[in-house]
Structures are given as C-alpha cells and as structure tokens.
Symmetry: C2
Subunit: 414 residues, 2 copies
C-alpha cells in the first residue's frame, strides 16, 4: 500500500520553479514567525466599553447554560406577574435592522445600537410574533434543562403549525439571543458543521481529547457546539486560515504544519458560524496571529471580512463571532504579477465581480486598511482574478514548498 514514507522524489520540475532560489533556510523563516507571534500576543482586543460605547451599543455574551436558564425563568416570572396584575404581557425586542447597525472602526467590526421595539401579546399586529417568542423561549428552556444541542431545523419542526416556515422561528431565535443577551450557541441551538482543522493543536470536543497533528489528511471536523470545546493547547506560531478545501488538502497532505508550526483551518468556502467561533476561540486562547489564504477575487476578500468584522445580519453577536486582526497573506491581486502567474491561469472578472469589488471599496472595514484598498483597486483596474489553485501551474506542491514559505519569509502580509 502507498503511504506517506513513499514519496520517491520531488516534482521533476523542482529546480525551475520561480522564486525557489529566493528561499532562505527554514530556521530564518521560523524566526520571522516567532516575532509575528509575540507581537500578536502583545496586542489587546478592545471591547465596547474600551471605546465608550457600552451604553449606546449592545452585545451578547457567551453565557453558561445555568445563566441562560435562570434568565428565561426570570423573564417568565415577569410575564406571569404582568398578566396577574391585569396588564397582559409584552417583550422588549432589540432591533436587528440595518438602521440599528454601526461599524466601529476602533473595534474593526459591526455592532448593534440600542434601539428596541415592543412586541405586545395584546395587540393584533404583534400577537403572533409574541406567541412564537414565548414558545421558542419555552423550547430553549427545555434544551437548558436537558442540556442537549439541536439545530434551527429541529427547533422549527417542534411546532410547524405555529411557526409556519423556518424563517419565522429562525428570526425569533435571533431576537431571543438579543433579549437574553447571549449568543445563539449559548441557547444550545447550533448550526451544521462545515469546517475542518488540522495541525499543531490539541483540544477537547465533548470530553474527548483531540490531537490535530494525528488527523491524517482529512483533518478533524470542527464541532458544531463551541461550548463543548475546551482545553486548547498548541505550540503553533500562527493560524493559517484557508478559503478552499483543495488548498487545505495540499497543506495537510504535505504536513506543512510541521515544517512551519501552525494550525490550518478552513470552512470550505463561505464561513459558517461554527468555524468562525472556533477560529476566534483559538485566536483568543492561544494568542496566535491569523494569516489568511484566499482566492484573489472580491469573494475572497469578502470571506476574509466575514471572519474579521462579521456579517451584517448577525451584528448583535459580532463580539463573539469575529476574529480581530486577520492578516491578508495571499493570493493578493499584486501577487499575480509578482509571482508571474501565467495569463491563462488568471480569469477575467465578470460584471458582477467588478460590482462586488467596487462595493467592497465603499465598506468601512476595507477603507480602514489603505494597503487593502490599494490591492482591491488593482484588482478592479486589471479586471483579473485568480484562484489559489492557479499556483498549480508551477507544480502541484508550489503552494506548500515555495509560495507560502516565501510569503512567510518576506513577511508579505497586510
């Protein structure tokens, strides 16, 4: 059988690969990474109160399950006493609309302002939503007492007659996060998992200790419930956040994480909540810098921004979902010429791509970083994009053996 010890020789074209000769010994590159790591460990993540916004903006927090339960119970007591005093009941629900969102540049993420609306049971226009809210509070309370995790889809199916369609129960679930002041995962409602992780990381998943250096090429599936993830330990110097599965596979098979100690993580495209939470937890607990490897197109940068600054429809939870200070390692628009990516491996941008690129140029989180603006301007100007896989034109292992080591050596991140 074929096994990892059997690689007979490197690609035939090893020596002709562009920039191969520029590579310094690994020890030199490792020194660079150690410096990067200590600077990341020294930087502090700001909170709403640090920037004086804690009274005008709201945020949810990861709460232990007992606290969620008692929060729901005290809400129930308030409702009961309101009813007993002849006043019916209502909820005060934080608004999650765009008008109530704010990008805070000091925090480099989108947060929710403090506008709320009243959801009254005794009003014909809000009675349905108030009923759904109460029902979902009851279901979440049940999740707390039995301490199990379910998906949003499971929740919907417990009372299809009332919820009618899943967007209704999903929306109210987000409302309840804001009302209780906790994250959706604290409510024990989790999203389907998509991400995988491999490399120099150990952590516990639901009580089992996982060693991510011993996960073969497939990696470990990122658990859907972050509250059962703990005990993170690592001797990595950085986290490598990869957009695509194919690049993850290449790096995993080549055990890139052993040559330049790192943790490699991917959500296989659009970041899901579980992967975002996992990345943030790693960054926070291990104090590691995060370097992102995404396609050189507007969506690559967009994906980077979701990890970094959050998505608009979950802005109330941006504090828990976002990972500050992600560096854009590659593939950057300027890399296309710099690394002499052949013309035929570049793709023309579509009208939609160009529009998305121009829209991104208007976004605060891009504008904040002049070097990113410059890269994005270059992309829109040249109207060219390229996938990570375009590097395969120099040999399948060019990514792991030349491009990434050189990027790290040159500290070529923004």
């Amino acid at each position: 059988m074929a096994d990892k010890n059997k690689r007979r020789r490197a690609d035939a074209d090893s020596d002709n690969r562009p920039f191969k000769s520029k590579l310094k010994p690994d020890a030199v590159i490792l020194q660079t990474l150690k410096t990067l790591k200590s600077s990341a460990a020294a930087s502090k993540t700001l909170t709403l109160s640090d920037v004086g916004l804690s009274s005008t903006c709201r945020e949810v927090a990861d709460l232990p399950i007992d606290e969620v339960q008692s929060e729901i119970e005290s809400l129930a007591y308030r409702i009961a006493s309101s009813i007993l005093s002849g006043e019916g009941f209502s909820f005060s629900v934080p608004s999650r609309s765009a008008a109530n969102q704010l990008y805070v540049s000091e925090l480099d993420r989108i947060v929710l302002k403090d506008k709320s609306s009243v959801r009254n049971f005794g009003n014909v226009s809000t009675v349905r939503k108030a009923t759904i809210t109460l029902r979902i509070l009851q279901l979440v309370h049940q999740l707390c007492t039995s301490n199990i995790h379910v998906t949003k889809r499971d929740l919907f199916y417990t009372d299809v007659k009332l919820f009618q369609d899943q967007t209704q129960s999903d929306g109210v679930l987000d409302d309840i996060s804001c009302i209780v002041g906790c994250t959706r995962s604290s409510l024990n409602v989790v999203a389907a998992e998509k991400g995988v992780v491999v490399g120099r990381l150990m952590f516990s998943d639901n009580g089992d200790m996982i060693d991510c250096t011993k996960m073969g090429m497939g990696g470990k599936a990122i658990p859907p419930n972050i509250d059962r993830v703990g005990d993170m330990q690592s001797d990595a110097l950085y986290i490598l956040l990869v957009e695509k599965d194919a690049a993850f596979m290449r790096l995993s098979e080549d055990r890139f994480y052993n040559r330049f100690p790192c943790i490699i993580v991917t959500a296989k495209g659009q970041p899901d909540v579980a992967t975002r939470l996992f990345l943030r937890k790693m960054k926070m607990e291990l104090n590691l810098p995060v370097l992102a490897l995404v396609d050189s197109d507007p969506y690559g940068l967009k994906i980077l921004s979701v990890y970094g600054c959050g998505s608009k429809n979950m802005s109330y939870d941006s504090g828990n979902l976002t990972t500050p200070d992600i560096k854009w390692l590659g593939i950057r628009p300027s890399d296309l010429d710099k690394y002499k990516i052949p013309e035929q491996c570049r793709l023309p941008m579509t009208e939609q791509d160009i529009k998305t690129g121009k829209d991104l140029l208007e976004e605060d989180f891009v504008k904040k970083n002049p070097a990113w603006v410059e890269e994005l301007n270059l992309m829109v100007k040249t109207k060219q994009k390229a996938e990570i896989q375009a590097l395969s034109s120099f040999g399948f292992q060019y990514l792991s053996e030349v491009y990434l080591p050189l990027k790290l050596q040159e500290q070529d991140w923004l």
Copy 2:
C-alpha cells in the same frame, strides 16, 4: 462549563412520547442486531465474472500506485513505437455514454459495456482530445512519481491554455480511468471531502490512527484519499448511514453508537466520492450490514440509490463506489402514519417531487425491490414527504431514544 455529564433530566414530555412503551430492553434489541450482523457477514458480493459478464462489461479496479505508473509507462512505449513506425498514435477510449451502460440486477448496480472509440492524434476532429489525454497521462504519471494527491481543480490549473475549461480535463480524466482500468482515486486525483464519521471504528488516515469513539460531537472528517485509509477495526454491529447533518449531530451528541454499537456516517446530503468509497471500504472490510436513515422524499431514496447502485456518470467505477445491500431503515412513507407524524410536520410534494418519484419507479434498482416500490407508490399517492427532523415534533431526542431503537427492535428495514 457545561459538559456531557451534566444532563439534568430527560425531556419533560418523555413519558408521553408515542411508542415509548413498546420499547423492549436494550439487550433484546442488541440480540436482533447481532443476528443482522451475522447474516450480512455470510452474504457474498457478486462480481462481473460471477454473473458471466466479465467479457462483455468492463470495470476498473483499485490499483497500487506502482501499477498505475507502469501501466502509463507501457502506454507511452506503445505510443512511441507507433510513432516511430510511422503510424502516428491513437488511444482506444471506452465509451462512457448512456447507450453503453447496463443495470445488472444480479449485481444490483449499473456497469459499463465494452464499446470503445478511437481517439486519433492524426485526425483533425480528435487531435485536441488526444493531446489533452496525453497531457493528463503525463500529469498523472508525475503524481505517481511524487506520490501526492491533488484535486481535479489542481489538475485543470496546470495547463489552462490547453484544457480551456475544467469540464474538458475532468472528462478526459474519467477516460483515463477507463483506459488504465483503475479508479480515479488510484490516479491520485481526489474529490473534496464532505463526509464525517463517528462511532465504533478505528482506522489509519495517512499513518495516523484514528479512534472514532473519541471524536466528540464533531466526528472525524472522511479523508479524500481512500488509499491512505487502512487498518479498519470495529466492534460495531451495523453501519448507520445518515442523509443529513442534523440527524448525525443528534446521534453523535447522544452517543447513540455506544448504546447500540454502530458506526455513523454522513455525506451531508448528496453523497460525494470520498464518502461512498469510505462506506464501501467499511462494509467490505468489516462485513457489517448498512442501514440507511434518509428523508421520506424522492431525493432520500435517490441518495440511497447512489450509495447502493452508483450514479450513471461514474458507472465504469460502480464496482468500487457502490455498497451492496443497503437496507432502507427510515424515514419511510409508511412511517408517517405508523409513527403518527403530525400533519403539520409533513410537507406537500411539489410537481417536481412527484415527477422524480414517478421516474424512480421506472428505475431498475427500485423495481427490483417490491417493498421499495410499495413505499414509493404510497409516497406518490399521498403526495406527502417528511424530513428526518419531523420527528422532533415528539421531542428533540425522539429520534435517538424511541424511533431508532424501535426500528431496530422490530427489524423494520427493507
């Protein structure tokens, strides 16, 4: 912190759950499963030669990398000598068209017949494809010598100028599988991974030993390259093949695999090649019966059929990709009434659903199993479908605590 030992009490409505009272002690159910396991171990998987078709049908095999390499090298010698003798060169390429496919009921899968066509370099209509074929043979040979795995996307990017678009390199790659007579994974070209596995299984992935009982709730990502998977060991009594992620999560969190020893696997929807190969390998090496838990809709049955009989466009590889004798455990159309799934949790079938259902009734692999035909007829007649999650209407853990145990107890699979 919340942990698995902290479940304080079962769902409040435990005792009212329908059919809960019908459940016998676990030991009785385990005895049923042991009988199922021994009957699965006794059954033999037929091959083309068993049914006298080995001369008129063709199949590919999993070949070790050295054999793939020497096969390509002897092909190159033949081409060179053909050129030297002044005759140019051509490939004989097995046809993969629908007209060359055959459903063999004894094998219960789709196979490829023996028609071939000539792809001549000296002919203006085939020169392009012959060139692409030669180029991909060269690239695969390079993969053999360095013994690394790449994706189809990587392959495309090595020569965009020639391939023009990925469908062309993908198609020729399948041709090369047929020419060389090996599976696509034997060519070291793998698909992106999607599946996860959890439960009573140990296996090695790229040299690392994986214990799937210690993978928390997230499970282990199924490796993209089956040839680096080995040393499978298990004390499971059956394999539970699950269509959806949410059901997988429920069973994984509840550690269902410890109560009724099994291996739980899902491809999260449409089965990908890696998961299909992995399932087959488990079935073959461990001699375990496979029970499928899919949605009660035409797509659920379609997914089951892809695992069982293969997809049409990869019929040349059906022998390696398919898992024989998968039992349809649930959710079956007859379960909707039997388990009293509330009306509001059933969904009306769309016109397209009904058409897909009727098309399935014409398929050989459905017709072969009269009990399946009956179920499918019922679905099309009632025009109702339901997802696995519909069981959540009886409580989130109804699936793992009542529905599945009862199904196993009653040997209610088809």
